[in-house]
Point group: C2
Chain length 271, copies 2
């Protein structure tokens, strides 16, 4: 079974898509063909979106599903005329919140991904620059790091650092364990002062070998033997040094970041 879904928003569409994906993931037997229609903020754009949905409906014979975060009721009505199943993301929550807070919702709606707070923006950008300049041991000053990811090459440190910086403004540095560290089974001296900020990333050897093979085909670096050795030594080193760690093989970047924050008791909310 396949059904078409439109995420419609008067802004970026990120909220519609995030909640829509979460809801749809609960129907595992159905394949969803997903489309994002952002910035639908006037009648002409709503009419164009409606036409597209209607055309799809007529062609496929299946009723499309619309996940909607548009605020303007008039625009919602235009899209509803397409005959699609309308799921309005905000409607169920506004009433209870208005009652609880004793106030009506204000005009500025659905701008959560549009508004810019310069301080927060700066925190994100500064953290991103920090992650870029403290990636793979290029820069050695870890004093400013909120946390430092440790692991063998290609265990997922860089994307995790960038994600934490871009979304949470967390300054995460990144130290790739060298063959020397792994042979000695010793933390390098410059990491030792920051032991309570270290977190290890591990990965299954077969998966690591695949990733490295893509990167440097046929190299010793990509052999399963080398990967296995590095990972075993890294594991030993982390246990000896008391560094908490996470196997990233089956875990998304979002979940890795959440688990690291949970481990450090960081409750920072997203920007």
């Amino acid at each position: 079974m396949q059904r078409t879904v439109f995420f419609i928003s008067d802004s970026t569409g990120i909220t519609a898509e995030t909640i829509g994906n979460s809801i749809l993931a609960q129907f595992e037997g159905v394949r969803f063909d997903k489309h994002r229609l952002p910035f639908i903020d006037d009648a002409a754009k709503a009419e164009a979106a409606t036409l597209r949905i209607k055309t799809h409906y007529a062609k496929s014979g299946e009723r499309p599903i619309v996940v909607n975060t548009m605020a303007d009721r008039a625009l919602c009505d235009i899209v509803a005329a397409s005959g699609a199943l309308m799921l309005d993301v905000f409607a169920p929550f506004i009433g209870p919140l208005e009652a609880e807070l004793g106030t009506k919702r204000s005009g500025a709606v659905n701008r959560s991904h549009g508004l810019v707070d310069f301080d927060k923006y700066e925190a994100r950008i500064n953290a991103t620059n920090y992650a870029l300049s403290h990636d793979d041991g290029i820069d050695v000053d870890y004093a400013q790091a909120d946390l430092i990811l440790v692991g063998v090459s290609r265990s997922g440190k860089t994307p995790t650092c960038l994600y934490m910086a871009l979304h949470y403004g967390v300054s995460a540095a990144n130290y790739p364990l060298t063959d020397e560290d792994l042979e000695k089974l010793e933390l390098p001296a410059r990491l030792r002062p920051y032991r309570d900020r270290l977190f290890g990333l591990t990965i299954e050897p077969v998966r690591l070998a695949q990733i490295r093979e893509q990167r440097r085909a046929g190299s010793r670096y990509a052999t399963i033997k080398q990967c296995r050795w590095e990972l075993e030594q890294a594991d030993r080193l982390m246990r000896q040094a008391g560094i908490p760690s996470l196997n990233t093989t089956h875990v998304s970047i979002e979940e890795i970041a959440s688990k690291i924050f949970a481990s450090f008791g960081i409750e920072r909310t997203m920007y």
Copy 2:
């Protein structure tokens, strides 16, 4: 007025937080003190969360608000016993979808940020590596780029490229206009074959000067005069070359990315 909000999830909490922030942003007069409680997936953790919420309630005298994406009804009931206002993110949508699709939702719930699809993961990682190695004109092969951001130094190109890569698997390169380009008012030769993939970022001169001043205090690079000149020339160059552009001063990274995708007709959905 200030109210405390808990985002509770049996997984990362990203969905709860995303929709929660969108809903709360509609109540502009209220300050919300936000806490994320992820990975609440057994009774003991739910009890601990409940205790925390109750303690908060007793201390502040104000009823806390819970934005909940836990799937297990038993866990929801434990948290509801705290007396908080429970906003269940999925409940309102499951009924209508079950009716529409003629199928019950499956057991695997709320894993949208936890599941890993290796192909998609690889696309994200490869795009991130692409963005890192094609940042600020370091690497010159633009043939593989989905799109190329053009702008003066510190106009927001790098974080935007990284965001598009991490979230959408879009391979975005990044070309900083040099003084030479700006004097000649000419696109560099190596960008010309890819004119239809170029997108310009601009920014207000005062804001650019602030950002640059943070970076290199007291430099000529950070003077308002230099910023103004570069931005005027960049604007001219983009208009002459027919490159679409966006002023990023008041726009979040999420919105910049969405607008660029809309401009190119890219409807790629998030990972």
